[in-house]
Amino acid sequence: MKRSKYRLPLSQRIYLIAILKGMGITARHFFTNLLRPGRMPNVGYPEKRRNYSPRFRGLQILTVKPNGEIRCTACMLCATACPADCIHITAAEHPNPEVEKFPKEFNIDMLRCVFCGMCEEACPVDAIRMGTRYELANFERNQFIYTKDDLMRAGNYTQSRVTRP
């Protein structure tokens, strides 16, 4: 690679001014935290948790009808819209002929999910929503595949958002 002919000015070449500036910021925070701990920007996780905006996109929720049944009709529009190809649905005949179609299986591979929210946008029946749950760590890869039951339970986590007739 050809070296640039441009040379930094002396003030920058000695780095001293920048270092002092940096030290200044560090020192300011050090003293602020020391003297006024209430203004410290850290959150004492896990004892304390940060409040996210309701618009935060976390683990998906499968909403339910008033009778507790899954709202999803297995139309697969979310799976179609999903850019990460992480939604896998198996449709089946519902025992109630009025309902006709429902998802026998509804799996989301959270290792693939990019939390884009397209599934929520695509859903014609408001059956899938982006929840606010963000603690999605697990010990094994297969535990990242969230099943229908997991996702329906996820609704309880942020109850206030999913009550809709």
Partner: protein, 538 residues
């Protein structure tokens, strides 16, 4: 088709495009020839004209009243406008009226994605709904009528299905009862459909009123890719498209592909739904060696090795070839075994129906369940090789020095007609079967080799009408299944290595079949998509 009858053509101008057509055509057909699309629901090329959907309204010669193009005969010098403001307005109006009582249950409708209502709404409609949902007329939904699920509410009463059961199958089970907007499609006695072509109803239904039970909720159609192929369930060789999900590589449905010379737009239910054996419980997945009634999973390597050793004494071997094999497989197997010195070849076919006088069922089906008996005969005469029938096999057994019988290419779960060939073999003859499925009648075999199904191999076949048609692999071969090429190759080498190249059938076709059957100038591509009618077999 024939050029010797010179029919004077008339010239019609459609949307400023001039087109010359024969005078028996309608404006709609002329538009099709001109490459102009006219929206329609009730028109179907293989059914009579109903003229009820009123979607194909066009302006003819600036007449004040619009005409339906499907029933307007062409006239010389006619000027037609299919998308003038007036025609568009009428088409849009008709579409809106189609939709006012149509339920909005696209999310659970299997037709969604290939539904004409959706298509035309996007293309011609796009108006705001003026009807309250609760005002819609309700009719029975999801009624079980056998192989088909009938949703009368989704029905737009285009009468394609009733015309189909009246004109094609002559069974008249489907009727439209009542009148006005209470008209309802149903089977007259609420019973199941009683014909062998019910699956076509799901195809011709432009909306989701008639959907196939087999495909119900299996896939959304937009996930599927279609591949052209040919049905191998009987000697008609109906043209098909095979729908495969490219992600799972699984086969989900078989549909007819229009070929006026073979199957029009239809296919029988057998051809449509018998594909399940591909994923069936009984499907052979690995080579199996059976000794003393014990089934042992084996390998191709071992099987080929044993066969190669047996070939050292070719006089004790008889090769059976099913008429379900492709032309190329037949050539490959016969030529390679002839080279090794094998002299006896048996044709495994349903001998009871092969010589029948009226083998057709009146619509499509041929009583011969194998697709390539005609091709078999042509291949053998091309190779100047004689084949034995079942009696010939019995005679050969009688000579007493037969030690090995190798039968190739038995496909499907319903091949009971082949059992007489197995039964003709005495205890002492060791039987090797190359078949797709494990069946009770194969129990006496020493080797079971998994065969590739018709959906997993490519090649050509000749149907009972003498038409050479192309088969295309739609899905990857299940597990260790192999087609005839790979088997011939393996046996020659006595080892499972350097398997036959994928495109082997193309080679064979171009080198050996194309010239004698089609003349030198014809090549592989000419077979697509409709096949080529061959000259009568001498």
């Amino acid at each position: 088709m024939s050029t010797d009858v010179a029919v004077k053509k008339v010239s019609v101008t459609i949307d400023d495009k001039k087109v010359e057509v024969t005078p028996d055509k309608t404006v709609f057909q002329a538009a099709v020839e001109a490459g102009i699309f006219v929206p329609h629901y009730c028109y179907h090329p293989d059914l009579s004209i109903a003229g009820v959907c009123r979607m194909c309204l066009v302006e003819v010669d600036n007449a004040p009243k619009l005409q339906i193009s499907c029933n307007t005969p062409v006239r010389d010098g006619m000027v037609v406008r299919t998308s003038s403001d007036k025609a568009r307005q009428a088409q849009k109006g008709s579409l809106e009226l189609h939709l006012i009582n149509h339920p909005v249950d696209c999310p659970i409708c299997d037709k969604a994605g290939e539904c004409k209502l959706q298509d035309f709404y996007r293309e011609f409609g796009l108006y705001k709904s003026r009807v309250e949902l609760e005002d819609k007329v309700h009719k029975p939904k999801a009624k079980d009528i056998g192989t088909i699920v009938l949703d009368a509410e989704r029905c737009i009463l285009c009468t394609r299905c009733t015309r189909f059961t009246h004109e094609v199958t002559h069974t008249d089970e489907l009727v439209i009862v009542n009148r006005g907007n209470r008209s309802e499609l149903k089977t007259y006695d609420d019973g199941p459909l009683r014909n062998d072509y019910t699956g076509n109803l799901a195809d011709i239904c432009p909306v989701g009123a008639l959907t196939a039970r087999d495909f119900r909720f299996q896939q959304r159609v937009w996930f599927l890719e279609k591949k052209n192929s040919v049905c191998t369930m009987c000697a008609r060789g109906c043209n098909t498209t095979v729908s495969v999900n490219p992600k799972t590589k699984k086969l989900y449905r078989v549909e007819p592909r229009r070929n006026p010379e073979v199957n029009k737009s239809w296919i029988c239910d057998t051809g449509r739904w018998r594909y399940h054996y591909v994923y069936g419980e009984s499907r052979l997945r690995t080579p199996e060696k059976i000794s003393d009634g014990r089934v042992l999973e084996s390998t191709w390597h071992q099987a080929f090795g044993e066969m190669k050793r047996a070939l050292e004494d070719p006089s004790g071997i008889v090769i059976g070839l099913s008429t379900q094999l492709t032309n190329e497989e037949i050539l490959e197997l016969v030529l390679s075994f002839k080279e090794s010195g094998v002299k006896h070849f048996v044709r495994i076919v349903d001998e009871q129906v092969i010589e029948e006088r009226s083998p057709w069922d009146g619509v499509l089906k041929h009583r011969d369940h194998t697709p390539n008996a005609e091709g078999f005969a042509r291949m053998f005469s091309m190779m100047n090789t004689k084949f034995l029938d079942c009696a010939g096999l019995a005679a050969l057994v009688g000579e007493g020095n037969l030690r090995h019988a190798w039968f190739f290419g038995l496909e499907g779960e319903d091949v009971s007609w082949a059992s007489r060939f197995v039964e003709a073999l005495p205890e002492g003859v060791s039987l090797t079967l190359h078949a797709t499925s494990r069946l009770p009648i194969w129990e006496r075999a020493q080797w079971l080799l998994p065969a590739a199904s018709a959906f997993e191999k490519s090649g050509t076949m000749v149907n009972a009408l003498g038409r050479l048609q192309r088969l295309q692999a739609a899905i990857p071969r299940v597990s260790l299944a192999r087609d005839g090429h790979a088997v011939a190759f393996g046996v020659q080498r006595g080892a499972d290595r350097d398997a036959a190249p994928e495109a082997r059938h193309v080679d064979l076709f171009e080198k050996l079949i194309a010239a004698p059957l089609l003349g030198r100038e014809q090549v592989w591509k000419k077979l697509d998509p409709m096949g080529v009618a061959l000259k009568e077999r001498s």
